[in-house]
Subunit: 197 residues, 4 copies
DNA sequence: CGGTAAACGAGACGGTACGTCGTGTCTTTGA
DNA sequence: TCAAAGACACGACGTACCGTCTCGTTTACCG
């Protein structure tokens, strides 16, 4: 049983409050960025007391992370019955598009936030990165069974090879994050850099 | 002439103060991390007035960036007359080693700091990332002329393919950053993921 | 009604904090004088946050004024059933004694502070000067009814004639502020400077 | 001998700088009051280096005092061959007029400044108060010889009786400082408060 | 008349205090 | 009995001045 023995007494926690907080956090993140996000600001915007927020999140970045992940969960995921490599390419195009949009800044901000807080890092890794890698891993495995990927390839390394450059350009901003780059990246990951023998 | 005609007037800035500030920043960064780095802390540790710091840097993260880059400039660089691919492998091993050490946390912290400050991002990109890429680009070019790399390879994409996964693992921490990974990564980047025809 | 319908919400202001602040201010005033009184010093001594002080007072001099006035309110006041002129003389002796003691420096400091801040000036005038004048005015009125003071005398002018020289000597320090001066002053105020006809 | 044997060597102090500083101080005093007067502000306004000011004055209030006294010395003094009491009355009218003008605020500010600095107090007393009292004392002495003032009157007390109320009203602001008050004050000081026998 | 010592302007220095903001905790009233 | 409001102790922020210290540049005197 998860129910407390005496039912729960007093005023129950407001689900509405949780929603208001996350909504306010999303707005403030969009308006002022992660650095401009404060507990006071969230409380004021959400018309909620600060202790109500502290009861559920330890700090403003944790609220931001929740808001980010909740928005992310609602995003559409690739699926279908196309050849795996086509699906993979489409997925990469999607990621590049998101990373080039304002949402990309949020992703970068979350990665940045995770550098100072191991708990946040764990949550971000599990609910954002690993979830995405699972999709990618499934696609690669399917491509392998279709004979399009070498059967001895180490998928974990392959996943880094394919996805990391997108994150790298997002975070460093040293080059474009467009279709051209994405295609060139995938092609090169497939055939390798080495000269033909 | 863009030179001011009468040179600069007034008491010149103290090089000693600059050194004390950066030294203090380095110590505090090592002790407490970027989040625990404050202008007041730096000033107190360096025995320097706060305005002296603000005269040269706009905020604590900018001090940290300067301290980081100055330390980085002193680091040894790869060189030698070995075959280019061997040199590249050695360089990647070195990067992986640094990223696995406490210095790696600093690098991650700088990338995080750059996400909130475009000026910082520019400095970091130019003085850290691009400098490293230049080395890598030279190696790849040499490998190309040695016939070890396909002559039509897009070096910019190849650089991302090879370096990005190291940064990705540093920032996300989803897998090891050891010799095994580095070797597997370079090998896969060279031969590609695609199944043999 | 100008009353808010739901009284005031939130945590009420702490009376303990107010007391601690005024007590600390009094100590620091005694130790270092008005010029050495700072908001930071008060906050540290009172173990109170600076915003707690700023919530109630706009600056250190306002705190000092409150501390001064609160101490003053506790001081004994002249009273009794003696002839009014005797009571007046006793009151003047008391003032001269206070002005010659360290408390006199505080009074002078408050007058000085009031010169730069009209709000402070108003409070000081109403709660210190006018209160004292009321006592004096009552005494003079009583003396008038006793036939000891001319019935057509302008009491406001008479009050200045009698009290101002004490303040003047306090502030300028050009002469003693003792019983001899006080008596001579009152006598001369009573009989006037003019030669007999 | 305390005199240096070879007179003073090097570049002599600039009289122009002294004038510029005092002029700037006067302007800033008029614009922003004593509280808003800073060494930096004076230096900037006078186009003079800060050390040039510190070489001649210990702090901003000392500059202000010098500026005030220098302006005061230039003011016209009462004189003439009228009956002493008429001259005295005219002098009091003049003081009341000055005290009611912006220049009065400066006088009040100087008295305030003198409360925190005994050196300043001494200078102000000697060069402003005592000088004025000398004039008053001379007038009273003359009135005495004319038979208009009692020959046994203590002039020091009489001076306080007559002048102090003007300063008092200047500093406290509890009543008007006009001709009416001045006349009533002098009349009452002459005939006294006491009822006729 | 050429050195030289001191004052000059400018402005950076190590500091202190300012007044504000945000933190995370607490204590009220109101629902 | 929990939520909102908001005060609390704390501490960092970035700024303004303080009074002192170099700088390179005049400027008058003295040898």
């Amino acid at each position: 049983m998860t129910e407390p023995p005496s039912a729960r007494r007093g005023r129950p926690r407001s689900e509405a409050a949780r929603r208001k907080v996350l909504e306010a956090a999303r707005e403030l993140l969009a308006e002022r960025g992660l650095a401009g996000l404060t507990m006071e600001g969230i409380a004021a915007r959400a018309r909620v007391g600060k202790p109500t927020i502290y009861r559920q999140w330890p700090n403003a970045q944790a609220v931001a992370m929740d808001a980010f992940l909740e928005a992310e969960d609602g995003a559409p995921h690739v699926s279908g019955h196309a050849p795996a490599l086509s699906a993979l390419r489409r997925q990469l195009h999607g990621i590049a598009a998101v990373f080039s949009s304002p949402a990309g800044r949020s992703t970068a901000a979350m990665i940045a936030a995770a550098q100072n807080d191991s708990e946040l890092a764990k949550v971000f890794r599990n609910r954002f990165i690993l979830r995405g890698r699972e999709t990618g891993r499934a696609l690669l495995r399917q491509a392998m069974s279709e004979g399009a990927v070498r059967p001895d390839a180490d998928l974990e390394v392959a996943l880094d090879l394919i996805y990391a450059p997108l994150f790298f350009r997002l975070l460093i901003g040293h080059g474009p994050l467009d279709r051209g780059f994405t295609d060139a990246l995938l092609d090169m990951a497939l055939v390798g850099v080495r000269a033909e023998r």
